[in-house]
């Protein structure tokens, strides 16, 4: 497999963009219409529709193989899509499950790299420092990424994603590899950053409780389509134990094919026999 080719498919899989004219709150930042995606004979996405608005925090749940990652990759421009199927308005950033920081660049250079095509070097540096400050890692700016803990690396990854002021922030299970305490800290940080910058957020996750704690809207993907979705009206921070949220939780688990009585969303479907 060639790493870099001149093949136009590799050159232009970036989503088709229109320039954002204003700060975009409430306006659509991503529109997905009838998106089909298949690998060989496997149809992963079958006519998926989705709209994400500026400043909206959307969580996407689904079993493995439901097409979550495929959708995210299309939105990130890593897989090609036609403008009819998918449009992203303005800049898009991604924070991956593994932070994917370049190990041979310092923390600050990693963040500044997101602005490589933008302003002057000095200004890039300034922006990168401010962004690192926001995630509380100013003192690590000259460190090598391999010297960071998992949580720190993920925070740098968030700083890198936000430094370019994206209209759409894609989070691909960024907290799944972290320990429980770090995850709680990261949840708080993500909400704080989102409130400050107000990008549209699409969080792909396996964790139903994470989705219910963070999002305005929760989607369940099944067989390549949005099978169900819920808007969460209860403010963040007051959701724990809220009856409305509990009810939605039960529905979400049902939509994911989990017996509503069990707490673990990864439990097998009732229809599938086998050991627990």
């Amino acid at each position: 497999m060639a790493l870099m080719t001149r093949n136009p498919r590799h050159q232009t899989p970036r989503p088709n963009r229109t320039d954002a004219t204003e700060d975009g709150t409430g306006r659509s930042v991503a529109t997905v219409t009838e998106l089909h995606r298949s690998f060989g004979t496997t149809h992963v996405l079958r006519g998926l529709d989705l709209e994400i608005r500026g400043g909206e925090f959307v969580a996407l749940l689904g079993r493995s193989g439901s097409g979550k990652s495929t959708l995210l990759r299309s939105l990130a421009g890593l897989d090609p899509a036609s403008p009819r199927e998918l449009t992203v308005h303005g800049a898009v950033s991604v924070a991956f499950q593994e932070p994917r920081l370049l190990p041979w660049r310092t923390v600050e250079d990693n963040v500044a790299l997101a602005l490589a095509n933008g302003p002057l070097r000095r200004i890039r540096r300034e922006h990168a420092r401010r962004s690192l400050d926001e995630v509380g890692l100013t003192e690590k700016r000259d460190a090598w990424p391999l010297s960071l803990s998992g949580g720190q690396a993920q925070r740098v990854s968030l700083a890198r994603a936000l430094v370019s002021k994206p209209n759409l922030l894609l989070l691909d299970e960024p907290f799944s590899a972290l320990d429980a305490l770090t995850r709680i800290e990261m949840h708080r940080l993500v909400v704080a950053l989102w409130k400050r910058h107000r990008p549209g957020v699409l969080l792909v996750t396996h964790d139903v409780d994470e989705a219910l704690a963070l999002a305005d809207r929760v989607l369940v993907l099944d067989q390549g389509q949005v099978a169900a979705q819920w808007s969460l009206a209860v403010p963040r921070g007051r959701r724990n134990g809220d009856p409305q949220i509990s009810a939605i939780r039960t529905h979400v688990l049902e939509a994911l094919g989990v017996d509503a009585g069990t707490r673990n969303p990864r439990t097998e479907r009732p229809t599938e026999s086998g050991a627990a």
Binding site: A2, M4, A76, L78, P103, W104, A116, N117, W144, I184
Partner: protein, 279 residues
């Protein structure tokens, strides 16, 4: 789950192993220093035994000169400038051969590493040629190029090109696709991806290739100069052989190994500087 542990305490707990590791380091270094000294004992003993055997007349000068004799000869050769000019000639050969071979190896590796067509065009012949023992090419080189400077430089260039090609090509291909995807989402251009992702990602393996190729370069020089030479260290050694001057031969050999050691140390320094991120 002990969710009540305050973050500061948590930080202390996680910081502890790092502190302990830092404390342990100097002790290990001290032990390593002692070992380094101990490792000098047996070489010095061998040297002393060698000198004793020579002084006693058991080891005659036409077999192997004594260490002191060799030292005296080296001083002499340095004083009249013979050693310097011979060394300069040899270094010149290695340098030209290395530059030609390294350029060829690197360019081919980049062409093969960055494109599918390049790989199909470059890699098969390179893989076939690499199985040729390149010293076996000497007769052919002499037929083609005579016995002047050209076949020597060509031999060195051949020896340098292959390890550098193979390692750099493998290095480029081993760059993690995840980093390339990340670079893509950061909107980096093709050039920026080359500069920030592919080049530094391939560097560790390319430096392994550089070290190998420098080793081969010196070896090729020695072989080429031994086959035929009218100047340089090889000439000095061959000339001394005619008169059974073993002291001069050993001085020549010592310079060869010093030069090899020097370039190896140089690459090590480059590695330490360029790959600091790995520690």
């Amino acid at each position: 789950m002990t969710t009540l542990v305050p973050p500061q305490e948590l930080a202390e707990v996680t910081a502890e192993p790092a502190v302990r590791r830092r404390e342990r380091r100097p002790r290990r270094r001290r032990r390593a220093g002692l070992g380094w000294l101990r490792r000098w004992v047996s070489p010095l003993l061998i040297l002393a035994a060698w000198q004793v055997l020579s002084s006693a007349g058991i080891l005659t000068e036409d077999v192997l000169a004594s260490p002191l004799q060799i030292l005296a000869t080296a001083t002499e050769l340095l004083a009249d400038g013979t050693l310097q000019s011979a060394t300069a000639t040899s270094i010149g050969r290695v340098l030209s051969g290395f530059l030609i071979g390294a350029t060829a190896g690197l360019v081919l590796a980049v062409v093969a590493g960055l494109s599918r067509i390049g790989e199909d065009a470059v890699d098969p012949p390179m893989q076939m040629l690499r199985t040729l023992p390149h010293f076996g090419l000497i007769p052919l080189f002499i037929v083609w190029m005579g016995i002047g400077e050209t076949p020597k430089i060509a031999l060195i260039a051949m020896g340098v090109a292959f390890p550098l090609y193979l390692n750099t090509f493998a290095g480029i291909r081993s760059v993690d696709r995840k980093f390339l995807e990340a670079a893509h989402t950061l909107n980096l251009t093709r050039r920026q991806r080359l500069r920030h992702v592919i080049a530094p990602g391939a560097l560790p393996q390319a430096l392994v290739g550089l070290r190998q190729s420098l080793g081969v370069a010196w070896l090729s020089l020695i072989v080429a100069e031994t086959v035929s030479a009218d100047a340089g260290l090889g000439y000095l050694i061959n000339d001394a052989r005619e008169f059974l001057k073993t002291d001069v031969i050993v001085v020549g050999l010592a310079v060869y190994s010093l030069l090899g050691l020097l370039t190896d140390t140089l690459v090590r320094l480059i590695e330490r500087k360029a790959l600091a991120w790995r520690s």
